[in-house]
């Protein structure tokens, strides 16, 4: 398949891994930021090809995983309101709040619907003037433009029965929080390619300079990731710390300007709590004053809510690269995809779920080559 097969070629993958092996002289720890990259690494076994000097730790870039418990509880609350149609991307439905999840609410009679785009939610609002339609606006800079566009269009049309429950987060502040934390292990980043298609990578330049870490904007296919690792290791070995772009086929330095424009029109930067990590300043998006009447928290008076995480769940450490999923004492015993303690075990992009699915048991690497 065009633009996929070329990036999954086994021989080329081994060549890239060998290239890393040739230039590496000491151990380095790299973090891939995005959950999509984590999933690809574990699914294809990319880390198994790399020399043992390279440690890949998994970053906070799974939108489902970082959405704080109180936002999920708010979603559950508003989905039970009479006359509400609650719309969401599919993988948020399984994430447990304090007591239940949206799939269970749906089974109990709540009108919860999976949509593929916030614009589909807008259409549901147009088609159901007697109902209140709420869209769960989660995700990073990648989903922000479409979510902003939905609000922008709703405002243009004067649609009064549409609102969004916002839990948007931004990548660069999270990377800075990881770099600035005591005991940080991360020496280089593979930045999230899709986020950069929207935002470009100028935001990373001050980070690379301040913390002296290489940041390589990286795609999601095996060869993308291997090339990203090669570029980051090369910089580390040469004592450089620059922002480089591995994903040049999709990312430009300035990103997608019309997309950024609609984000700025509708959203402003706000402090945001990250599940398992805590509040990070300037790390989220909230609706601007002019669009505040589309804020579901205000419309439904959801107000302040504070919920504690289960103490057994160490997903915060996993998302900061301090702990590998299989090093968590609850992994695979108290915490499984059927009974998750934290969102990292729920989402298909969550590091714990990826390890559970593909690495619950160590597999002999030659078992199918008989």
């Amino acid at each position: 398949m065009k633009f996929i097969d070329e990036y999954r070629d086994g021989n080329a993958a081994r060549q890239y891994a060998d290239a890393v092996r040739r230039i590496i002289t000491r151990p380095w720890t790299l973090m891939e930021v995005c959950g999509g990259q984590t999933h690809a690494i574990v699914k294809f076994g990319i880390d198994e090809l790399l020399p043992k000097e390279v440690t890949l730790v998994h970053g906070p870039g799974c939108p489902v995983c970082v959405t704080p418990l109180e936002q999920i509880d708010k979603a559950l609350l508003v989905s039970s309101w009479p006359g509400v149609i609650f719309t969401s991307f599919g993988d948020m439905l399984r994430v447990p709040g304090s007591h239940t999840d949206l799939l269970t609410k749906k089974a109990g009679g709540a009108d919860v619907r999976i949509v593929y785009s916030p614009l589909d939610a807008l259409k549901i609002a147009r088609d159901n003037p007697g109902k209140q339609v709420v869209f769960f606006a989660v995700g990073f800079e990648t989903t922000a433009p479409a979510n902003a566009m939905a609000v922008f269009q709703a405002a243009q049309e004067g649609l009064e029965n549409f609102s969004i429950l916002v839990s948007h987060v931004l990548v660069p502040p999270a990377m800075e929080a990881i770099l600035g934390a005591k005991g940080n292990l991360v020496q280089g980043f593979l930045a999230a390619g899709h986020v950069c298609t929207v935002m470009g990578y100028t935001e990373y330049e001050p980070l690379a300079a301040k913390y002296q870490v290489p940041i390589v904007v990286t795609g999601f296919e095996p060869l993308d990731i291997l090339q990203g690792v090669y570029m980051a290791v090369k910089q580390l070995e040469e004592g450089r710390h620059e922002v480089e772009n591995q994903y040049a086929r999709a990312v430009r330095r300035d990103g997608n300007l019309p997309a950024q424009h609609v984000i700025k029109e509708v959203f402003e930067v706000v402090p945001r709590k990250w599940r398992g990590v805590g509040e990070i300043p300037h790390s989220g998006l909230g609706l601007r004053e002019a669009y505040r009447n589309f804020d579901a928290e205000i419309r439904f008076g959801l107000g302040d809510m504070h919920v504690d995480e289960p103490p057994e769940c160490l997903s915060g450490l996993v998302m900061q690269g301090r702990l590998k999923p299989n090093e968590c004492p609850a992994f695979g015993s108290m915490c499984t995809p059927e009974h998750p303690l934290g969102a990292t075990m729920v989402s298909s992009e969550g590091a714990c779920a990826a390890y559970y699915r593909y690495r619950r048991i160590a597999v002999e690497q030659d078992s199918v080559r008989s």
Partner: protein, 351 residues
């Protein structure tokens, strides 16, 4: 890697955390498995059921019969490549074929929602008749119920069927042996993506049509050719991965497959990539796997490739002893990993 934790066997999860049935309980994954193991199997346990095959193998008056049933609730009722009627006939015909049986007679039950256009019912029934004729079966008994408007999705169809088992040896997961080769009858993922695209109004570059088709003819040919078929399984709900996981668990053997050998049509792969779905778990309605001894694999492929429905059959892996009860997949870049059952349904991801 310091992982080893035993899979769910040693530490059964309680009837999970759910007090009500969720849609995921019907997804063919781990949640469905829990319903089976904790509710149905303990209640009905008997030798035929406990074999956990696509249909029951029964001995009645010296005659070996296969008996199977399935209900169809597909939404939308009509999709590219078929409709609820063709699905209902082919689904049960294929379940019987997976027992090594020649399908003979079907029953059908219609649960119709008040207000369904008679013309729609006529079209569904006409397609059922065509599908039955193509598969060489007769619909010999049936039932009709009408429910209040709003209490059903237009139309639900149930079929049950019986057939005479022609295979000499039992075809079941327990007959799988170390050294067997795993054959896959064609490309995977088409039915699931065709229905999803039609249901959600997703427009892809080309229209994906379902692979819905009867597969009894190639299966019976395998048996007529004297091949020692150890196990057959059609890859419906839960897809190739779920079928193999179940066979690995039941046989307590290791099934090793290779990603590079599994065909997925380009448009299906594209649609799966966009939605974040894994074709290994997407439903098929005309695909099956065959387990045969290695010495017979080549002849089996020859037989399969003579039929349009299995013209592109391929060997995708083999059975070994260890690691017991597991399916592993060699990825495109040559690294081996576990293939697991999904928890509930595959949900499209955020970005």
């Amino acid at each position: 890697m310091s992982t080893p934790t035993t899979p769910a066997f040693s530490c059964p999860v309680p009837v999970s955390r759910h007090e009500h049935v969720l849609l995921g309980h019907g997804g063919g994954g781990q949640m469905t498995q829990l319903l089976l193991e904790q509710i149905f199997l303990p209640a009905f346990s008997n030798a035929a059921l406990d074999a956990r095959h696509d249909g029951a193998a029964l001995l009645i008056g010296g005659l070996r019969l296969a008996f199977s049933t399935d209900s169809y609730v597909v939404k939308p009722m009509f999709f590219p490549g078929g409709n609820i009627g063709t699905l209902a006939v082919n689904g049960t015909v294929n379940d019987l074929a997976m027992c090594g049986a020649r399908p003979q007679f079907l029953s059908t039950g219609f649960i119709i929602e008040e207000g369904l256009p008679i013309e729609t019912l006529r079209q569904v029934v006409a397609s059922m008749q065509l599908a039955a004729a193509a598969a060489g079966v007769q619909l010999v008994t049936g039932d009709t119920k009408v429910v209040d408007r709003g209490k059903g999705d237009g139309l639900y169809v149930n079929t049950a069927g019986i057939g005479i088992i022609e295979a000499a040896n039992p075809i079941a997961p327990s007959s799988v042996r170390s050294g067997d080769v795993i054959l896959l009858s064609g490309d995977i993922g088409r039915h699931g993506m065709a229905v999803m695209a039609a249901r959600e109004g997703l427009a892809f570059e080309s229209e994906i049509e379902s692979d819905c088709a009867p597969v009894a003819a190639p299966v019976l040919n395998l048996i007529e050719a004297g091949l020692d078929v150890h196990c057959l399984r059609d890859l419906t709900r839960g897809g190739l991965a779920s079928a193999l996981v179940e066979i690995a668990e039941t046989s307590r053997l290791h099934l090793g497959i290779e990603d590079a050998l599994i065909a997925v049509r380009e448009d299906v792969r594209g649609a799966c990539e966009i939605l974040g779905l894994d074709p290994l778990y997407v439903a098929n309605e005309g695909r099956f796997v065959v387990f045969v001894p290695e010495a017979e694999a080549e002849l089996a492929l020859e037989v399969l490739s003579a039929h349009a429905v299995s013209a592109n059959a391929m060997a995708i892996g083999r059975v070994t002893q260890d690691p017991r009860g597991l399916v592993t997949l060699k990825s495109l870049i040559g690294v081996t990993r576990i293939v697991d059952r999904l928890s509930g349904e595959q949900l499209p991801r955020i970005c």
